[in-house]
Assembly symmetry: C2
DNA sequence: CTCAATGCAAACTATTTGCATTCGA
DNA sequence: TCGAATGCAAATAGTTTGCATTGAG
């Protein structure tokens, strides 16, 4: 988390941005939880203690975090863009439960390797990827 | 393609739907091209020869195709939902060029297998997945 | 004749933008 | 002071829905 704040501050400095209490607040809330926030999620959470904060401010901050490389935008197909804190060099993909909406992370180097092979076969240069498995999580399998 | 039409007709019959010239038209156009159409793409294409067709009709037909299992909805993060014809049992994933927008399909059984292993480790039951590699296609690498 | 389908326009939802005001450097 | 940031409201874009009319069975 310290790393991420440092990375963001450096990025903000390069862009000539100013520090504001709101953005600091949003950044801390964003980093302090393992959640996958949509703008609305985070906005609603922050508003409890900071009623004056604006939706657009939260949204602009999240987009900025993504630009600075400390967040990634995710889309699980439910119509909401989510943002996830990104630690440098740490990539992972997601298991998304279609029943309860829970999100679990996974990382499988052998898949990444095969991806590279596939790309190479097509003369394709990978910049980024998304890999999501949708289905039932362990908690929901029993109930189903 | 014949299979897909048969599957759709059976599905429509079960749902008690009626055949209409518009939907037949949309279905044929949808299946006759390897493209990954958004509603708008297909609507604009169809409108050339059938100016009276409505956007909503095209959209409702595409959603229906997805419901009947002859199409899958795709989202490459550009804000448009795309629809791809699906042949039964034939699954594939996508290489998406971030430069020219071209879409190439790939299929790698070893990745699917590893996916299943990952899911099993988490007690997760996969219903479907999405796996997309974003980057530069062979044509765009030279130009870059 | 009945009810699904159509085509149009309007509604909706998430996201983005314009702008007057506020506030950090 | 200067310009970035904020907060509000309005605009946008894609998707979905309501409804009067059309048309298939």
């Amino acid at each position: 988390m310290k790393d991420q704040i440092a990375v963001f501050n450096e990025c903000a400095r390069r862009k000539g941005l100013k520090n504001t209490s709101q953005r600091t607040l949003i950044l801390k809330a964003f980093l302090s939880s393992p959640s996958h926030y949509s703008t609305e999620d985070l906005y609603l959470k922050l508003r409890k203690n900071h009623p004056k904060i604006g939706y657009a401010t939260v949204h602009r901050a999240l987009k900025l975090f993504a630009e600075c490389g400390i967040a990634v935008e995710l889309d699980f197909g439910d119509g909401q863009t989510r943002f996830e804190p990104l630690t440098i060099g740490q990539h992972h993909d997601h298991l998304v439960c279609t029943e309860c909406g829970s999100i679990t992370e996974f990382s499988e180097p052998r898949i990444e390797e095969l991806q590279e092979q596939v790309a190479a076969q097509h003369g394709f240069k990978i910049e980024r990827h998304r890999h999501e498995l949708y289905g039932l999580c362990s908690k929901c399998i029993g109930r189903g």
